[in-house]
């Protein structure tokens, strides 16, 4: 197995791909979004449930069709975010997106992003960056919608 591939398909990625956490669509939820990657046809439906006046993420459930990277990304993200406050996770989100877009120049901070650190091998492959960020974009959209509903 080449170094290149082992940097991408890490054990953690394979594990999350095979046994994704928090997968499936659950009730109750505040908002649901559906995102598509138009270049490959991958899709994610994501539901967000907030608590404490919209400050805490009570649940994220999802249904993701996609490659190993994007499925693992969804699983890792849900596991990272559920139960935490929006304020708490904002830096993780920013940091992860920046690192993914850095073409490998930015090393990830595991304390901030947890298992998702295992995805950073994909940062060198622009087409795969989209796969990995799709669940995060969906979360963001669901959050924006939830805030609009709340406002």
């Amino acid at each position: 197995m080449s170094n290149q591939l082992s940097a991408l398909y890490t054990e953690l990625v394979i594990e999350h791909d095979k046994r994704p956490l928090h997968a499936g669509l659950r009730e109750p939820f505040d908002t649901e979004v559906h995102h598509v990657n138009p270049t490959c046809g991958d899709e994610i439906t994501l539901r967000l449930r907030l608590a404490e006046g919209g400050e805490r993420i009570e649940d994220i459930s999802y249904d993701a069709v996609g490659c190993a990277m994007s499925r693992a990304a969804a699983s890792m993200m849900a596991d990272l975010l559920i139960g935490r406050t929006i304020e708490e996770v904002a830096p993780a989100q920013d940091h992860f997106e920046a690192a993914m877009r850095s073409r490998g120049r930015l090393e990830g901070d595991e304390d901030l992003i947890g298992d998702s650190i295992a995805l950073l091998g994909a940062a060198k492959f622009p087409a795969r960056v989209k796969c990995v960020l799709m669940p995060w974009k969906a979360y963001q959209a669901a959050l924006v919608e939830a805030r609009m509903l709340g406002a």
Partner: protein, 425 residues
């Protein structure tokens, strides 16, 4: 292998494509199997474009000075060269566009742009029908959806059989007196299927409908003759036939172009302009608004020279042989399902497949790590993928410079992919 393809000197051809010597990693040479998306350019094409730029560059058709004359000669000469390449009776039937997509949009928009002075045949209106197929590239589907939406016409489509061919069983009911256009691809960019042009042309003629052929995938890979095909319009892309990006071709029968309303408007396509109204030039000028892709036309003409020097028959034979090699190789791998007819020569050199349980992105990624560049996804033919219950496929496509050794490497690469993912816990 036929005598023809044995004569085909791939190593000599490869020497014309400097990019093929490129390394992806220090020890990974490039194996480019994505000519179906865009082809590489031989140095002859690059050189022709550069030579034009260094000697004759000027605006065409607008100036009277000598440089403008030279540039116009180069541009109109390219039009003649391309007319000759596709068997067009006259260069005036060749319209330069920016890509095949614009060529198809040109027809779709122009058919909606007419008024009462436009012949009924060239005007799509409410109640009319437009027929496409389920295997179309988005470029030959969405413009027709939009024409239908704008005009109130109805879009219908010919389904695809489980054998990856057009299902013509109900053609008699799909083609009606209301059918104004039948738009279909010559060769599917996914399945490799080559469609029965004659049957569709006959059905269209019976009701006076126009035929629009998407030849983006076929013209670069087989002898191609618009006159023999009998269709009314043909769309091509330069960058898929060893030519530049930024140029495509719409061929149309002159008598139709002569009455078709314009699409893009502006400079060089007019006859007279007043503040409140304009009249328009004869074809092909009428359909070429603004400064055209001049150096790109020169490059495309050089690409036609290059293809003709190799010989389209021999190119087709070469690619057929590679296709058969790939099909046979993939068929022997457990878990690989070919999305397309199983045997060449009833089909051409795009080989799309599904690897059980593996997303195409992951398949493509492993192949890429071996230097093998194939395309993954829905290849702009989403409804066709839905038809076969797959989200996407992996597609290899073969070019004049592809070797049997590369096809071997590709087949081994697919086998390796399955092993690789199998080995991960």
């Amino acid at each position: 292998m036929s005598a023809l393809s044995r004569e085909f000197d791939v190593e000599a051809i490869r020497a014309d494509f400097p990019i093929l010597t490129r390394m992806l990693d220090p020890d990974t040479p490039l194996i480019y199997l994505d000519g179906g998306a865009t082809s590489q350019r031989p140095r002859q094409v690059i050189d022709a474009e550069v030579a034009y730029l260094l000697h004759d560059n000027a605006a065409v058709k607008r100036g009277a000075h000598r440089m403008a004359g030279l540039a116009t000669d180069a541009y109109e000469g390219a039009r003649e060269r391309i007319a000759d390449f596709i068997g067009a009776p006259s260069p005036d039937e060749v319209v330069f566009t920016k890509n095949a997509t614009e060529a198809l949009n040109l027809v779709a928009y122009s058919l909606g742009n007419g008024d009462d002075s436009t012949p009924a045949r060239l005007r799509v209106r409410e109640g009319d029908e437009i027929l496409v197929t389920e295997m179309e590239h988005h470029a030959n589907l969405v413009p027709w959806q939009e024409l239908a939406r704008r005009t109130g016409a109805r879009l219908r489509w010919i389904p695809v059989t489980d054998d990856f061919t057009l299902d013509l069983t109900d053609l008699g009911t799909l083609v009606t007196e209301r059918t104004k256009v039948i738009a279909f691809t010559h060769q599917s960019n996914v399945l490799g299927t080559v469609n029965p042009v004659a049957a569709l042309v006959e059905a269209a003629r019976a009701v006076g409908a126009l035929t629009v052929l998407d030849a983006a995938q076929s013209a670069p890979h087989m002898p191609f003759d618009v006159a023999a095909l009998g269709v009314d319009f043909v769309a091509l892309s330069g960058h898929k036939m060893l030519g530049p990006t930024g140029i495509g071709v719409l061929w149309g029968r002159y008598e139709l172009l002569a009455e078709l309303p314009p699409f893009l408007t502006g400079g060089s396509m007019i006859e007279m302009v007043h503040m409140d109204r304009s009249t328009f030039a004869e074809p092909p000028a009428r359909f070429e608004a603004g400064t055209p892709p001049i150096s790109q036309a020169v490059g495309l003409a050089a690409a036609c020279d290059y293809l003709d020097a190799l010989g389209m028959e021999r190119i087709a034979a070469h690619e057929q042989a590679l296709t058969q090699q790939a099909l046979t190789g993939l068929a022997a791998i457990d878990g690989v399902r070919i999305i397309g007819p199983a045997a060449s020569p009833s089909r051409a050199g795009a080989v799309a497949f599904d690897v059980a349980g593996r997303h195409p992105h992951d398949v493509g990624q492993v192949l890429d790590s071996l230097g093998i560049e194939v395309r993954v996804g829905h290849h702009c033919a989403w409804p066709l993928h839905r038809r076969f219950g797959v989200h996407g496929t992996t597609r290899a496509s073969f070019s004049v410079h592809t070797t049997a050794a590369e096809v071997d490497a590709f087949v081994h690469g697919v086998a390796h992919t399955i092993d690789f993912f199998g080995s991960l816990s």
